[in-house]
């Protein structure tokens, strides 16, 4: 067992595909499913899952790419922080090319001389802070529940080791309040949710309870092709039986209670606040900022930055795409003005963005 190849078995995928076709015939009406994770969006495109499904089963992408849902004003704030004197701004690579309100980006200001460094882990940010004791190191804290525990761990380590030149600009978000907004959206008629596997590793089954309460299917799903097809099959079974619940396809990775240690760390470090999501607007209790005990690590408290309002990018429909009410093909900029080499909207920047995936796979 290596937990990868076994779930890329073509024969298994074909059996599941045939079962899904039989289920779709039994349901006899169009069904819309939404994946709420950028890694699912990428995997569905990469493995050609849409082409395996019957015509009546439609997959739409939701607000599951953290870079894509970061508001224009947060991108502007990140740039303001990165331009401060004596600052080393540390970020994941995905953020670099996301355009702010006035077309600039972290990548463009880096070309202009700002000290912006790309890392793959918060552990590297700690190293940078320790090796540059006279600089102010600011880490861009971005991501959902899968990623935010790594930032909690980082600041706990800094507190323990008395590392004082590292702070965080936190735009961390949590998934369940966004799902509630999608359930409330009258323009969206979603029959079932492909729930995010790696967010669920941390949060467990909690947080999805409202989906079955509102008569929709919810299946926590893994990321290999056999996982995704099985997840879809489980959702269709719920629809056929008219019996809705939170089910777990990804049992090898997700426990009902999640990762309780990671959840405790989140509780120890963060508190919930309203947060602005591109496309969805302000959602109550959907953002994470440091609580009083860790407020010294809040970059916004350490540095004076102007408060900016988000402005829309002309012609870009990323907001509607993130809500699942439009597909990239409906955007006038898609493929022409906006492409992976020259992204205009955030959904074209990240590999997991819906537009980027559609550009490469559809």
């Amino acid at each position: 067992m290596k937990y990868i190849d076994e779930y890329r078995d073509g024969a298994l995928a074909k059996v599941l595909k045939d079962l899904i076709h039989t289920q779709a015939d039994e349901i006899g009406r169009p069904v819309t499913l939404m994946e709420v994770c950028g890694s699912h969006t990428y995997a569905i495109g990469h493995y050609g899952i849409r082409k395996l499904l019957p015509e009546g089963i439609r997959l739409i992408s939701g607000p599951g790419c953290p870079v894509c849902v970061t508001s224009g004003s947060d991108v502007d704030t990140a740039m303001s922080l990165a331009l401060k004197k004596n600052v080393i701004f540390v970020t994941y690579g995905d953020m670099l090319r996301v355009p702010g309100s006035r077309g600039s980006s972290l990548q463009k200001i880096r070309a202009g001389g700002a000290d912006i460094r790309v890392v793959a882990s918060t552990l590297e940010a700690i190293d940078i802070a320790m090796h540059n004791p006279v600089s102010d190191v600011i880490f861009m804290g971005i991501g959902f529940e899968t990623t935010s525990p790594t930032v909690a761990s980082m600041v706990m380590t800094c507190k323990k080791k008395a590392i004082k030149n590292l702070s965080v600009f936190s735009v961390h978000k949590v998934i369940p309040p966004a799902i509630k907004v999608l359930l409330d959206d009258p323009e969206l008629a979603i029959d079932g949710f492909i729930c995010p596997g790696h967010v669920s590793v941390i949060i467990g089954y909690d947080g999805y309870a409202e989906i079955p309460e509102r008569g929709r299917a919810a299946v926590i799903t893994g990321f290999e092709p056999v996982d995704i097809l099985e997840g879809i099959r489980m959702i269709l079974s719920q629809i056929i039986q008219g019996r809705f619940l939170v089910e777990n396809q990804y049992t090898r990775a997700v426990k009902p209670q999640g990762n309780t240690k990671a959840m405790e760390m989140l509780g120890e470090v963060f508190m919930s606040v309203p947060a602005e999501w591109r496309g969805l607007g302000i959602i109550q209790d959907s953002g994470l900022v440091f609580n009083d005990a860790f407020s010294a690590f809040n970059a916004l408290a350490r540095f004076d930055v102007p408060i900016m309002e988000s402005s829309n990018i002309m012609g870009c429909i990323c907001g509607s795409i993130l809500r699942g009410v439009a597909t990239p093909h409906e955007c006038p900029l898609f493929r022409h003005a906006c492409n992976p080499r020259n992204p205009i909207g955030p959904c074209m920047v990240s590999r997991e963005g819906t537009c980027s995936t559609y550009y490469k796979c559809h």
């Binding site: 937990y3 890694s39 790419c65 590297e124 971005i142 959902f144 990321f223 240690k261 990671a262 990240s350």
Partner: protein, 73 residues
């Protein structure tokens, strides 16, 4: 961004870091977030430099066996 990959623990050092093997590639991950005891040979799911979950081998095998029954049906 929530990308995660399974790797096999090859060794664990005194600072609670593990060296893991992912299909022949070696990586170092921190074990500060994982909520279960892990040891050499265990598979862990890794994300952004941290192990976040110990893969449940028994559950994975049971589930695969169930799926493979479909092939014989």
């Amino acid at each position: 961004m929530c990308i995660g990959f399974p790797g096999k623990i090859m060794c664990i050092d005194e600072n609670n870091y593990a060296t893991i093997d992912i299909g022949g590639t070696k990586r170092e991950v921190c074990l500060d977030i994982i909520d279960e005891e892990v040891g050499l040979g265990d598979y862990v799911l890794c994300h952004a430099g941290y192990a976040i979950h110990k893969v449940d081998e028994a559950l994975a095998k049971d589930k695969l066996a169930l799926l493979r029954e479909l092939l014989e049906a």
